[in-house]
């Protein structure tokens, strides 16, 4: 069943040319005729060049930005211009993790308030009380629950990012849009968060739009992958198709450029590891 569908979505940004207030305007097409679907319980990954319009697409999908042209449908309903109740329902069902961790957290609020805010915005009482609920959420994303009274500026970048993730998971959304949600996390926490996301998908049927640069992560989590370049989707297919038989040139370059740990070192490490296990 299709949960979200973007149909030929285009976004133009109006920027002012040089020369002050009265300068003529210039338009810049950030997203160009993008169409895709996300089904219930599915993860669609968007990869692509930096500046290719991934975040913009995500924000349009979350209805945080109005597309210049094209439509966004959610559960079969056109919500491109929705307001009021239907928009509110949409908001309850779709949560977003933002790319920029600090800017997306209100500097005046404690973590506890930030992560429980979606609940109160949607008029849901936090199960087990606000404090306990917040602590539980923080624990889930690997944050020290004792820090629930801290303010965002007192956290590290990766911790701030996890606050954003915890916030998105506070309510039970149908779709979570993760804009580089794990990029600032160290690999072990990253793995923990990804496992959490996958478990939620399994148990509660979450769908994800997962924007990432780390193709290894994408491979772990995505069922389908869209590759964007210069505002357009240049290739869209299942994970294996994209990773194993990329058709588009850009996709191929992308895959070829993935850095890897020196294979020789890695091999030696595994060897040492085995030696160590054997010796124990």
């Amino acid at each position: 069943m299709t949960l979200l569908r973007l149909h030929e979505v285009t976004k133009e940004f109006v920027t002012r040319g040089q020369g002050g207030l009265l300068a003529p305007k210039a338009a810049f097409t950030a997203v160009d005729q993008v169409s895709f679907e996300v089904s219930l319980g599915e993860t669609l990954a968007i990869v692509g060049e930096s500046g290719s319009g991934k975040s913009t697409t995500a924000r349009i999908a979350a209805r945080l930005l109005d597309p210049t042209r094209g439509t966004v449908e959610f559960e079969g309903q056109d919500i491109t211009r929705a307001t009021g109740k239907s928009l509110a329902r949409f908001r309850n069902d779709v949560q977003v993790v933002f790319q920029d961790p600090f800017s997306s957290l209100n500097p005046r609020y404690t973590v506890e308030r930030i992560v429980t805010a979606p609940l109160s915005y949607q008029g849901i009482a936090p199960p087990g009380g606000r404090r306990a609920f917040a602590r539980e959420l923080m624990e889930r994303v690997g944050l020290n629950p004792d820090h629930s009274q801290r303010y965002p500026s007192q956290f590290s970048g990766g911790q701030a990012q996890r606050i954003g993730i915890a916030r998105a998971l506070a309510v039970n959304p149908k779709l979570v849009i993760c804009d580089e949600a794990v990029s600032a996390l160290d690999v072990s926490i990253q793995a923990q968060v990804i496992r959490l996301l996958l478990r939620l998908q399994r148990e509660s049927g979450f769908s994800y739009i997962f924007i990432a640069h780390d193709l290894a992560v994408v491979r772990q989590i995505a069922q389908r992958v869209a590759v964007m370049n210069k505002g357009r989707i240049v290739e869209l297919g299942t994970r294996d198709q994209i990773f194993d038989q990329p058709r588009d040139e850009y996709t191929k370059t992308l895959l070829a450029a993935v850095p890897q740990i020196n294979p020789e070192w890695d091999r030696r490490r595994r060897q040492h590891e085995q030696e160590r296990k054997a010796s124990v």
Partner: protein
């Protein structure tokens, strides 16, 4: 943008019209009959009637209002006298053309406003900035205590005390007489020094406190850390990176305050005997000189409304994030 400005200017006209009409109703309907006051101590109903007809007060309100508007744009006739285009009527009290009264007094009010504004901006912003940087220091505490004192002391008190101390006791300044700048620049400056100061004190205190609060907010932003990491000089960091975001909201207030002052500093002008718009307003209220009240109101409204348009334009120019969404 051009369209936006034009739209706003059209809005200005509408507001001024509304202000006009409202003022007209308040002062011509609810206020005492000017004819009776002109009539004086020994007055007969006949005389009142004749004065009313002479002033056009016997016409319906809207007709009077229409005449008034016409006067402003096209001029109008009062009996035998023709009053040319920007015609705001004649004072009930002195029979002077209100327009010439305004043009004669405006330079004084502008001088008062500009001088005071320069003073309070300098004092307020610099004081607030230093306070913010030295938050919690003795300088900060004393500057903020001073600011509070400044706000708590009504400016007529300040005016009189200043005059008593500086002019009467110490005799370092003359009594303000406000000659034209060209005649005697020194005396001009000395004359305006006290009015400027008195007016500036209250505003300076407000601005100092606002600047302080905003700068403190800004100082904790991450981009300030970036600026420091670039090795910029302290003054550049403060001037450019801390002040700009801190002062952006202050421009709003400044526009309003300054525009308000152009429409006359009632109390200060009265205390120091400066013949500006403010004093004219005070006099006209005391005497219920309606044409003058109307004109003063309109003038003040004009400055404030235009000031607000300028403020909005400046604000969108100052904050790039706002700019993009505004058009």
């Amino acid at each position: 943008m051009v369209r936006y400005v034009l739209g706003r200017l059209a809005g200005v006209l509408v507001i001024l019209l509304a202000v006009c009409l409202f003022t007209y109703v308040i002062f011509f309907k609810l206020s005492p009959d000017p004819a009776v006051m002109i009539c004086g101590k020994t007055c007969t109903p006949d005389r009142i009637d004749s004065i009313r007809s002479m002033l056009g007060l016997n016409q319906p309100l809207l007709a009077q209002f229409w005449d008034f508007l016409q006067g402003i744009f096209a001029g109008r006739d009062y009996g035998t006298v023709h009053c040319p285009a920007p015609c705001l009527g004649y004072s009930f009290q002195t029979n002077e053309s209100v327009w010439s009264m305004i043009t004669a007094r405006l330079p004084v009010s502008i001088t008062v406003a500009v001088g005071a504004a320069v003073l309070w901006l300098l004092a307020g912003v610099i004081g607030g900035l230093i306070s913010a940087i030295k938050q919690g220091s003795w300088w900060d505490r004393s500057a903020m205590a001073l600011a509070l004192t400044g706000v708590s002391v009504p400016n007529y008190v300040l005016a009189l005390v200043l005059q008593y101390v500086l002019v009467v006791k110490l005799q370092v300044l003359p009594f303000p007489s406000a000659p034209p700048l060209t005649e005697n620049p020194m005396l001009w400056f000395e004359s305006y020094l006290m009015p400027w100061t008195v007016l500036a004190v209250g505003y300076a205190c407000l601005y100092a406190r606002l600047t302080r609060a905003n700068v403190i907010d800004t100082l904790s932003e991450n981009f300030l850390r970036t600026a420091r990491a670039k090795g910029l000089s302290r003054s550049l960091i403060l001037r450019r990176h801390a002040l700009r975001p801190a002062l952006t909201p202050i421009t709003t207030i400044f526009g309003m305050d300054f525009a308000g002052l152009l429409g006359g500093a009632l109390i200060t002008e009265t205390v120091f005997g400066l013949n500006g718009i403010g004093k004219m307003a005070a006099d006209s209220i005391a005497k219920n000189d309606q044409p003058v009240i109307m004109a003063v109101t309109l003038l003040a409204a004009f400055f404030v409304v235009v000031g607000n348009v300028v403020v909005d334009l400046v604000y969108t120019a100052l904050d790039p994030r706002v700019r993009v969404t505004s058009t």
